[in-house]
Every structure is written in structure tokens, then in C-alpha cells.
């Protein structure tokens, strides 16, 4: 069975939360009386989540902001020296560091390449799933979701092994491909993880492989909501598939594409686990993206939690700016009722 959104409990096309339907004044009175009697109940129900999120998500964010203006390092952690406010020293050190700009550029270019690739692959597979018969569609989407469910750690070691210089299938295949396809004997023993460009090429394949199923399934769910009559009338008007996509499918799915675009940017700009493993854990400084650079500055001996926090704050602010767009798009779609 193909999973669609409509008609299942997860779909929020239901009665707006909390607004009771006007089914007669008695029921409305009862609802009002209920609300009055239970004025504090919602707060009590929210309390555990607010405490958990507050202590483990919001408080660390405040702390990072605080640390980024302090000289927080090993002596301060062990208590040998006190923490001191250092103004914007961590930020000015960061912004004048060429390694910061390199890692920033790597994150930016990576997102600029991977986001469109993921969206394109996902959309094409979503369109294909929509055209397939129910059984075939279920089979293909199941396999795609297996890629999505593969843990980042497993996916990373699998792709590193596929691209291994000794015994990896990628080099083996490339070495046997004809030269007009870019193959040739020089690929034998080629290392994909020793230089930034090959490492990020491998990472691109890995992240697209893990990322496209979510896009495909979401696009498929959106396609199911487009009325078939729209397509029929377009076909009667004599539009080809390309024209129909841009005239009907794209405008109808535009809100979904916007959300997928913003989510993909947030995920791919901040990708950590896969990048950390493919670039050989810590140490290859010319292969750091922004997140790994922040992590390295914070934790590699001698640790500098202050500079690391400044970098983490920069990363957080960049992602929050994109998140504002995501929240606005969600609100406009009626996610908050």
C-alpha cells in the first residue's frame, strides 16, 4: 500500500484544535464551563515538556551565547583559572581565521550542491511513484525508505567502503569504464577521502542517497492531493508532461517545495555525522565544514570552549535565520491552528 496523507489520522485536515463546532448552544456552554474549570490543566500538562526542553535545549543555547564571550578553556574547566569576560575576542579571532572562512565556504557550497540535487532526485522519484501501479509503488517507496532509515553511521561506513581504494567497488567500476564515460585505469586505487573535493563528492552521493526518500514520499503525498480533473483538462488543452508539471504540479506543490527546500538547507548546511566520518574524523583541517570546525575548536586538545561556542553560535544563528523562513512557511500553510 502506498502511504498517502489524506484520510489518515496524522493528517491535520481535521477540526481545528480547541475550536468546538457550533453544535448547539448547550455543547458550547459545556465547553466554556469545561475550559473554566480546567484553566490550569493545559499548563500542568505542558510542564514536563517545558522543563525538559528548557533545561536541555534552551538553557544550553543561552550558555553557548555566554561562553562565546568568555575565555572558557581547560584551566577554567579544571578550576585552575577563573572564567573571564573577553568581549568579542572569540568572534574577532574567528572571523580573522582563514580556516573559519574555508569551513564556512565548504558548508555553503555543499548545501548549494546537495539541496538542489536531493530535491530534484526526490521529486523525480516522487513523480515516478505517482505513475506506478500500487504494488510497484509500494515496493519502490519501501526500498527508498530503507535508505532513509539507515543510520547515518552505517550509511557513512558503507559509502566509505564502497569508495575504498583497495577493494572498493567504485574504483573497480570506474577503472573498467570506457574513457568517454570518464573511466580509465587511473581510477584504480584512487582515494576518495584524502582531499576535500573527492571527499565532498562522496559525501554528496551519501547525503543525496539518504535524503531523497523523504522528499519523494512527501512529494508523492502532495501529488495525491491534486485533483485528477486538473490534469485531464490540461491534457485536453494539449499540454506535454513538461508543461503540465510547470503549469499544474509545481504551483500546487509550491508550499510543500518551500518547506522541503528550507528543511534541506538546514539539514545539509549543518550535516555533521556523515561529514565527520567521511573526512576521517578530526584532523584533516582542510576538509572541515562549519559544524566540524566548531566541534574541533571546542574539544580538540587544548580545548577552547569559548571559541567553539562562538562558532557554534554563528552556526546556530545562520540556521535560525533559515528556520524563521521555515516557521513562516509552516504558519502560512496552516500548521498552527
Amino acid at each position: 500500500m502506498v502511504r498517502t496523507v489524506s484520510g489518515r489520522p496524522g493528517h491535520a485536515s481535521v477540526t481545528p484544535a480547541g475550536r468546538s463546532r457550533p453544535t448547539g448552544s448547550t455543547s458550547r456552554q459545556r465547553a466554556v464551563a469545561f475550559m473554566r474549570r480546567h484553566r490550569l490543566t493545559p499548563y500542568a500538562l505542558l510542564l514536563p515538556s517545558v522543563v525538559a526542553i528548557g533545561l536541555l535545549l534552551l538553557w544550553p543555547t543561552i550558555q553557548i551565547t555566554e561562553f562565546s564571550f568568555q575565555n572558557y578553556g581547560l584551566p577554567q574547566v579544571t578550576g585552575v583559572a577563573p572564567t573571564q569576560w573577553v568581549g568579542v575576542a572569540n568572534f574577532s579571532a574567528t572571523l580573522s581565521d582563514p580556516e573559519f572562512w574555508l569551513s564556512f565556504r565548504i558548508s555553503l557550497i555543499f548545501a548549494a550542491v546537495v539541496v538542489p540535487l536531493t530535491l530534484l532526485t526526490g521529486t523525480l522519484v516522487g513523480l515516478l511513484l505517482n505513475r506506478l501501479g500500487p504494488k510497484m509503488s509500494a515496493f519502490v517507496s519501501s526500498t527508498a525508505l530503507l535508505a532513509w532509515a539507515t543510520p547515518a553511521v552505517s550509511a557513512s561506513v558503507i559509502f566509505i567502503w564502497l569508495a575504498d581504494p583497495d577493494g572498493g567497488i567504485v574504483d573497480w567500476t570506474l577503472a573498467r569504464m570506457p574513457s568517454w564515460l570518464g573511466g580509465g585505469a587511473h581510477w584504480a586505487g584512487f582515494s576518495w577521502t584524502n582531499a576535500p573535493l573527492p571527499a565532498y563528492t562522496l559525501l554528496t552521493a551519501l547525503v543525496v542517497w539518504q535524503g531523497f526518500p523523504f522528499v519523494a514520499v512527501t512529494v508523492l503525498a502532495g501529488l495525491k492531493t491534486i485533483p485528477a480533473e486538473l490534469y485531464e483538462s490540461a491534457r485536453v488543452d494539449g499540454g506535454g508532461p513538461w508543461r503540465i508539471f510547470w503549469r499544474i504540479t509545481y504551483p500546487m506543490l509550491k508550499p510543500i517545495f518551500l518547506v522541503l527546500l528550507l528543511l534541506s538547507i538546514i539539514w545539509d548546511f549543518g550535516v555533521f555525522t556523515q561529514a565527520y566520518l567521511v573526512t576521517g574524523e578530526l584532523g584533516n583541517r582542510d576538509e572541515y565544514n562549519l559544524g566540524i570546525y566548531a566541534y574541533d575548536r571546542a574539544f580538540t586538545m587544548p580545548p577552547s570552549y569559548g571559541v567553539g561556542s562562538a562558532l557554534a553560535l554563528i552556526l546556530t544563528v545562520i540556521l535560525l535565520i533559515i528556520t524563521v523562513g521555515y516557521v513562516r512557511a509552516s504558519v502560512r500553510q496552516g500548521a498552527i491552528q
Partner: protein, 283 residues
């Protein structure tokens, strides 16, 4: 004539579908196949998709713990403990919050919902710096309880969001009818709300399960020194970082780590994707 062209088009689409499925499955199949290959087939000059002489040697070497000093079961136990406790905690907390958001109107309700959307995007590699220092002073490093706390809290924004859509989908009229029949709030919760949101609870707990089972950054940072406390993701990368890379062992460890979560996912896939897509399509 028309019928033939339709059959042809269908066959072409199906062929394309099979191709997409094969390309997608290939890395997973290659992992499993490598895990069963003896060393000389892994580094063979003519690699085959399937092992010619399948062996359990790789699995044996990671399960008995020759490389890492402790058997696989130790790490499986750690991962299961951390994952199950955080799934139960996060699902319970999320259910309470979801009922509040879906069933009540109150001040700060919209702010709360927007807060959920925002904190969901906070980068873990940023949070980990502050949490590492906090947990260091609380003595929660090299401690599975620390991971449970983090996994519970970090899955909450998504689990609450998913679950509040499910709770909102339960018709109010049913609760009202029960109330008219004289059922108290507890009874309404156990008899009406809980059975009807059960599919939602399954979906959200699968999400929380996958998140905790797969999580890497916090485990890497918090479980630095005590290998007995490693969870499975750290256990898998342990084989990767040491000297001569033994791909047979890594793929065996990776298979042992991946297959349980995939099996679990395939069983509940239908509800899972519904919930996820609902979250995405509706924001």
C-alpha cells in the same frame, strides 16, 4: 494500438521503478554481502555481488569482542537501554503536551507551538558543547543516564508536533458523548483518547526510537573514555578508526546495528511515514 502503447509505457515505468529500487538498495545489499565474505573475497580483484563462500567469521570476530575487548551484547544492551527508556519517557511527555495543545486554548499556546518548530532546528553540534560542560560538572559523562536525558529532550519537539496532529484528529464529539454519559476525565482518557491515538503513539515512538538508536554526536562526546558504556553507533565506528581497517568486521558490526532498526521500521512503516509526512506537508 492504443492498448499496446499503454502496456509499453507501463512496462517502461516499471523497469524504471525496479532500477530506482536496485540503485537505492545497492549500498545496503553490499554491506550485508561484504559482512558474509571471507577476507580474500572482500579484497578480490574481481568483486562479486554475492559471497562465493559465505562465512560467519566476520560476525564471530565482532560478536566475541576480540577487537574491542567486550562482546557485542554489551553494546546492544547499552543501546537498547538508552533507546527504550528515552522512547517511553519522550512519548509520555509528548502525549501530555499534545493533549494540552490539541484540546485546550490557553495563553502562549501559539508561542509554544512556534517554539517547538524553532528548537527542533537547533544544531546538535552546537548544543553538545554546553551540555558536555554541564554534564561534566554533574558527573553525567560516561553515564548512560546523561544520554537518556538528552535523547528524551531532543526528540520532544518532533514527537509533540507529530502527536498533536493525531490527538486533534480524534473527534471531540466522542469525548463529549462520554462526558454526557457521566465518564470522568480519567475514564475518557483511558477509554477513548488512548485507543484512538494509539497509531499516533506508534508513529512517534518509532521516530524517537530511530533518533535515539542512531544518535552519534552526543554519544561520541559523552562516552569518550569508558568503552564499556559505548552505544552501538560508537561501537561501529570503533572498528573503523583502528589501524588496519578490517572491512569485513566493520560491515558485520554495521549490519548488526542496522538490521534491527530497519526491521522495526519496515513493520511499522505505514504509520511512520504517515506521521512524518503529515508533519512535513502540514509544516
Amino acid at each position: 494500438m492504443r492498448l499496446r502503447s499503454r502496456t509499453l509505457r507501463r512496462a517502461g515505468l516499471n523497469a524504471l521503478g525496479v532500477l530506482v529500487a536496485l540503485v537505492t538498495l545497492f549500498p545496503i545489499l553490499w554491506m550485508v554481502s561484504t559482512a558474509f565474505k571471507p577476507a580474500r573475497e572482500i579484497y578480490s580483484l574481481t568483486p562479486h555481488p554475492l559471497p562465493a563462500h559465505p562465512t560467519l567469521g566476520n560476525f564471530r570476530s565482532v560478536i566475541d569482542g576480540k577487537v574491542i575487548g567486550l562482546p557485542y551484547w554489551n553494546f546492544l544492551k547499552n543501546s537498547l537501554f538508552v533507546t527504550l527508556v528515552s522512547v517511553v519517557a519522550s512519548t509520555l511527555i509528548a502525549l501530555l503536551a499534545a493533549i494540552a495543545v490539541a484540546r485546550f486554548r490557553f495563553r502562549f499556546r501559539t508561542s509554544y507551538l512556534i517554539m517547538l518548530l524553532i528548537v527542533q532546528m537547533l544544531p546538535q553540534q552546537a548544543m553538545v558543547i554546553a551540555l558536555f560542560l554541564d554534564f561534566r560538572s554533574l558527573g553525567l559523562l560516561d553515564n548512560l543516564i546523561g544520554l537518556i536525558l538528552v535523547y528524551t529532550a531532543f526528540s520532544l519537539p518532533v514527537t509533540i508536533w507529530m502527536l498533536h496532529n493525531f490527538v486533534a484528529a480524534v473527534p471531540r464529539e466522542m469525548e463529549e458523548a462520554a462526558a454526557i454519559d457521566g465518564a470522568g476525565p480519567m475514564r475518557i482518557f483511558w477509554r477513548i483518547m488512548l485507543p484512538l491515538v494509539a497509531p499516533g503513539l506508534v508513529a512517534t515512538s518509532v521516530f524517537a526510537f530511530i533518533f535515539a538508536w542512531n544518535e552519534f554526536i552526543f554519544a561520541l562526546t559523552f562516552l569518550g573514555t569508558d568503552s564499556a558504556k559505548f552505544t552501538l553507533p560508537i561501537y561501529v565506528t570503533y572498528f573503523y578508526g583502528r589501524g588496519t581497517v578490517n572491512w569485513g568486521a566493520i560491515m558485520a558490526a554495521s549490519t548488526l546495528f542496522t538490521i534491527p532498526v530497519m526491521t522495526f521500521f519496515l513493520i511499522v512503516q505505514r504509520r511512520m511515514t504517515t506521521g512524518l509526512v503529515a508533519g512535513a506537508v502540514k509544516g
